[in-house]
């Protein structure tokens, strides 16, 4: 039995605020946030992320955000590209449809977490997934909530991932 191929899985982490959150969060929120994190999963030499336009993919680091601020090694997976794309397609039709995007509950980091668990069984670092609750636990965040809820983040530079044939 040949050893299974192991594909490395990485998590690209971007700070959407480009350092502003670290400076301004103490004033605005009353607590220190290191950044406003956007993440994507890189596997099979492609970067996958979820935004208001649904699941997208692009060559690694090629969104308009530029290179990631940090890269986390999630592990390795045996899941082949084919299976992974199937998986993404069904995710894109269920949990991660483009209209299902919600900046607090179902965002890019939710997606990355989900995919990371699928691929490797591991979750992404908690400082990323804790971000919405961190923000919402401040009065500022609560006050901003109606506004923030309508924000959708879609880093440009990707193309959608879906089932081209529309069959299941």
């Amino acid at each position: 039995m040949e050893p299974p191929n192991l594909y490395p899985v990485k998590l690209y982490v971007y700070d959407l605020s480009k350092g502003l959150a670290r400076r301004l969060s103490p004033i605005m929120l009353g607590k220190q946030l290191e950044g406003i994190w956007h993440t994507s999963i890189v596997v099979h030499k492609d970067e996958f992320f979820f935004g208001s336009g649904g699941i997208s993919s692009c060559p690694p680091g090629r969104t308009l955000l530029g290179p990631p601020d940090s890269v986390v090694d999630v592990g390795s997976t045996e899941v082949t590209e084919e299976i992974f794309l199937e998986y993404l397609s069904s995710l894109g039709e269920s949990l991660f449809r483009s209209e299902a995007y919600n900046i607090f509950e179902n965002n890019c980091n939710t997606f990355s977490n989900e995919v990371a668990q699928f691929l490797t069984g591991r979750k992404i670092p908690s400082y990323i997934t804790d971000l919405p609750s961190e923000i919402l636990s401040t009065p500022f965040g609560q006050a901003l909530r109606p506004f923030l809820d309508s924000i959708a983040i879609q880093p440009p530079g990707g193309s959608p991932v879906g089932r081209p044939n529309g069959q299941s």
């Binding site: 605020s17 301004l24 009353g30 308009l64 506004f147 309508s150 089932r163 299941s168």
Partner: protein, 599 residues
């Protein structure tokens, strides 16, 4: 034989424990695993020594697919048919991921990557109906970037350019096109579905036209607020445009009436006081007039508080801008540096803020990405509610609505900051020289009233000009760091510019002068602001200090005001300012007033 049981509380037959290692916690030979399919998660209880194949049989029956469509993944490993679950380390509570393959063969990602392909496709569809060919090309190139959903990091300059593009301005003037464009925009349609009243607004061409007027004439907003002010200390005559603006707003008179008078009174009177407390209000204020431009394209999404939509929308528009501007205060105040009630900070509004914004970074303002379009309408909706209902100015309603509105606007500001790090850097620098920024902010309304608002915008659109200002800030900072003693020397230059008020304005409840000078010992680079953080934290702690019970200066100084008026100082506004500056010291205020009157 072991049975595979799915989703039933029945326990499996007390199973075969053959060869199971002790550390696997298995009760009665069954394992409860969580089976996760994309979007769903179910619990399965199976016997511990089930093989993968058997599990797949069960799953295929459950998911109604064929076994070879199933792919099981555990901890990143593909489970092969001959594996036994327990041997793969699958224990109680573990999650197995299942992918159900489609019946066709493999697919692969579509290359190459077309960045603007989709957006262009969508937007050009919208614009075709406008039939404006020469503009269309400009639009399809530029506007998709504006209207792409959500946060566009890295292209604020592009958006700014887009909006300064005369063809865009022309478009804004074309009511028909704008109406069409607005109604065809997806977001609009969404909101219309959610909120039928919205369509009334959009159908009313009058409103649209007025909004566009407003958008083209930001100074109108500012002037409107001042129109109501009985006493003005502005040297230049009020902008005649403002009257035009008022005339073009039917319903203004109806709706404004009492509430606006009261409101504006309070506003301008409190401008000086409240304004100083919050740097963000400065920025935010300026934002709102700009945002009015883009507000109507996306009408208010449904909000809990939009009960009063049917009321005169025109007044709403105007009010929205002004109110929205003013109500920034509370949001910014609430979380951080407020030393005043939200009411007082309500008055914080318009003038100073719009000016402040203009001075700070007008280019940054239009650079709000398309999603911001949604925000001000929310503000407007709420604002209208506030302004039209609160002629009595019930404090609670105001405060709550204010906060919600201002929260949106603060959010806009955050967006602005996010998009425009250089702007934030400038802000940081200002904040680190608090005494300068305090006084500058105070002086700003007067300063900017003396010049045309739009001139400022144009002047600062010149990158060299904003660079120059930035340099001034930096040098001031440096001075403050290296030789604070020289700052008073610089003051005369700044007086000439109108940046510093000639008499000293003390602001005991925000930032004492001496306190800050002593803290500026550390050298400080323009980008990294370790000291500013300290400053900001201090400001925040000051803001959080509950020992500042704040009322509107007007109420605080009412007695003194009466006294001053009795003495013959008829300029209500000037009186209030003097009182604020001297913290209620009547005799000092009288001296101030005499000095300013005599000069």
């Amino acid at each position: 034989m072991p049975h595979v049981i799915a989703q039933t509380p029945r326990m499996a037959q007390c199973g075969r424990h053959s060869g199971l290692p002790a550390e696997k916690k298995i009760s009665l030979g069954v394992t409860r695993v969580i089976v996760k399919t994309p979007g769903k998660q179910e619990d399965f209880v199976i016997a511990s020594d089930t093989s993968v194949r058997q599990f797949k049989e069960k799953l295929s029956a459950h998911f109604k697919c064929q076994m070879d469509q199933l792919v099981l993944v555990f901890m990143g490993c593909l489970l092969k048919d001959h594996d036994v679950l327990s041997q793969r380390g699958i224990l109680d509570g573990h999650t197995i991921h299942v992918v159900i393959k489609s019946k066709n063969g493999s697919r692969s990602l579509a290359h190459p990557w077309h960045q603007d392909k989709n957006t262009k496709g969508n937007s050009s569809g919208v614009y075709q109906s406008a039939g404006m060919t020469p503009v269309e090309s400009a639009l399809s190139e530029d506007v998709p970037k504006v209207h792409t959903q959500g946060l566009k990091v890295g292209s604020p300059e592009h958006v700014a350019q887009t909006l300064e593009n005369p063809s865009i301005q022309q478009l804004l003037s074309n009511t028909d096109f704008m109406r069409q464009f607005i109604s065809e925009h997806l977001d609009t349609q969404h909101s219309m579905q959610q909120n039928p009243e919205v369509s009334h607004i959009l159908d009313n061409s009058e409103i649209l036209w007025q909004t566009l007027e407003l958008a083209r004439n930001l100074a109108v907003i500012q002037e409107i607020m001042q129109i109501q002010q009985p006493a003005q200390n502005i040297e230049s005559p009020p902008n005649p445009q403002s009257y035009v603006g008022l005339e073009t707003v039917p319903g203004w008179d109806n709706a404004s009436g009492q509430s606006s008078a009261d409101f504006n009174d309070q506003m301008l009177n409190n401008t000086q006081d409240a304004f100083g407390g919050n740097i963000f209000t400065a920025l935010l204020g300026g934002q709102v007039p700009e945002q009015v431009q883009f507000s109507f394209p996306s009408p208010p999404p449904s909000q809990e508080q939009q009960e009063h939509l049917p009321q005169p929308p025109t007044a709403r528009v105007i009010y929205a801008s002004s109110r929205g501007v003013s109500s920034i205060s509370s949001a910014s105040s609430t979380p951080s540096m407020a030393n005043h009630t939200s009411r007082a900070s309500t008055s914080n509004s318009t003038n100073g803020q719009s000016h402040a914004c203009a001075v700070e970074q007008p280019i940054g303002i239009p650079a709000l990405p398309g999603r911001e379009l949604n925000q001000l309408p929310q503000a407007e909706g709420k604002d209208a509610t506030i302004s039209l209902d609160s002629s009595n100015q019930k404090p609670d309603d105001l405060q709550q609505s204010n906060e919600q509105t201002s929260s949106q606007i603060t959010g806009n500001m955050m967006q602005l900051l996010l998009n425009n790090p250089s702007l934030a850097a400038q802000m940081m620098m200002f904040m680190s020289v608090p005494q300068l920024s305090e006084q500058w902010r105070q002086q700003l309304p007067a300063f900017l009233q003396q010049t045309q608002f739009s001139d400022i915008l144009i002047a600062l659109a010149n990158p060299k000009a904003s660079q120059a200002i930035l340099q001034i800030e930096q040098s001031l900072q440096l001075l403050a760091t290296e030789a604070p003693v020289l700052l008073p020397w610089v003051a005369p230059y700044l007086w000439g510019l109108g940046w510093l008020p000639a008499p000293s304005c003390s602001y005991p409840d925000t930032v004492p002068w001496t306190w800050d000078v002593s803290n500026m010992a550390e050298p400080k680079g323009p980008e990294s602001c370790p000291k500013s953080r300290t400053v900001l934290q201090r400001l925040q702690s000051l803001a959080g200090d509950p020992s500042h019970p704040l009322q509107a200066p007007e109420t605080r100084f009412s007695k003194q005001m009466e006294y001053l008026q009795a003495m013959g100082f008829a300029n209500h506004h000037a009186n209030l300012q003097a009182l604020i500056a001297t913290e209620g010291d009547t005799s000092a205020a009288i001296q101030k007033l005499r000095r300013s009157q005599g000069s």
